[in-house]
Amino acid sequence: MARGVEEAGISTVCTTFRRDIIELVRPPRVLSMKFAPGRPLGNPGDKDMQRKIIEAGFELLQKDIHDMTITDLPFRLKKFGLF
């Protein structure tokens, strides 16, 4: 998804919880977190975590990059049932 949008001239940043899969498709700016499906911005209601993740994305958007650049973020999810 990032590839098509970036080709149109829009700077993108994307989140992922599967660093291994994202490395195959090579989008330019990636925020990698050890999350689970369904919560790319972390725990519901955790505004502070959401803002920290988004602001890490803003920081990455302002970097001069020329190839895939991944920022690993240390956030963790709360336990919810199976996850």
């Binding site: 998804m1 990032a2 590839r3 098509g4 949008v5 970036e6 080709e7 149109a8 001239g9 829009i10 700077s11 993108t12 940043v13 994307c14 989140t15 992922t16 599967r18 291994d20 899969i21 195959l24 498709v25 090579r26 989008p27 330019p28 499906p37 369904g38 919560r39 790319p40 911005l41 972390g42 725990n43 519901p44 209601g45 955790d46 505004k47 959401q50 803002r51 988004i54 994305g57 803003f58 958007l61 302002q62 001069d64 990059i65 020329h66 190839d67 895939m68 919810f80 049932g81 199976l82 996850f83």
Partner: protein, 158 residues
């Protein structure tokens, strides 16, 4: 022992025997050409979000539904539903922003951190086994966003 990539592929192939990962060797980079405070931002997600009034995604199509739905800039939580069978909806039901951070982005506009938000945001399905049409549709979304003056996009795959 299989690594996580091989294990995921094995699991997918139980449903979709010809599945292969999409692999690219290059990275397209569109450099940011203006300060963040002047940029117009759009959200894109693969969370299967769509307006309640819109046609739901097709969750029965084996290849995966590569189409997209447009979410208007003024969209509210009450306007949105989710058609996506591959993740737990408890989280988004509790807080839209953990998948589609529209309230956070509206805060950043008010704070002057970013310039404005797009009049259109884009939602795709995840769980796509045949990725070709997805790339073409993301190019279409990109062109439409570019034509409307969008500078940056925040993507939230689910």
């Amino acid at each position: 022992m299989l690594n996580s990539l091989a294990l995921t592929k094995k699991l997918i192939r139980t449903k979709y025997p010809s599945f292969e990962y999409a692999v690219f060797s290059d990275t397209p980079v569109a450099p940011l050409k203006k300060p963040l405070r002047e940029c117009k931002l759009a959200l894109l997600t693969t969370g299967g979000l769509h307006l309640k009034t819109d046609t739901p995604f097709d969750t029965k199509f084996l290849d995966g539904d590569c189409s997209y739905r447009v979410l208007p800039g003024a969209v509210g939580r009450e306007d949105i539903m989710v058609t996506h069978e591959s993740y737990d909806h408890r989280f988004i039901n509790e807080d839209l922003n953990c998948v589609f951070p529209i309230d956070r982005m509206r805060e950043y506009v008010k704070e002057g951190k970013i310039g404005s938000l797009s009049d259109e945001h884009y939602s795709f399905m995840g769980h796509i086994f045949a990725a070709g049409p997805l790339l073409e549709n993301s190019r279409t979304a990109g062109r439409r966003l570019k034509e409307s003056g969008v500078d940056i996009a925040f993507l939230t795959p689910t």
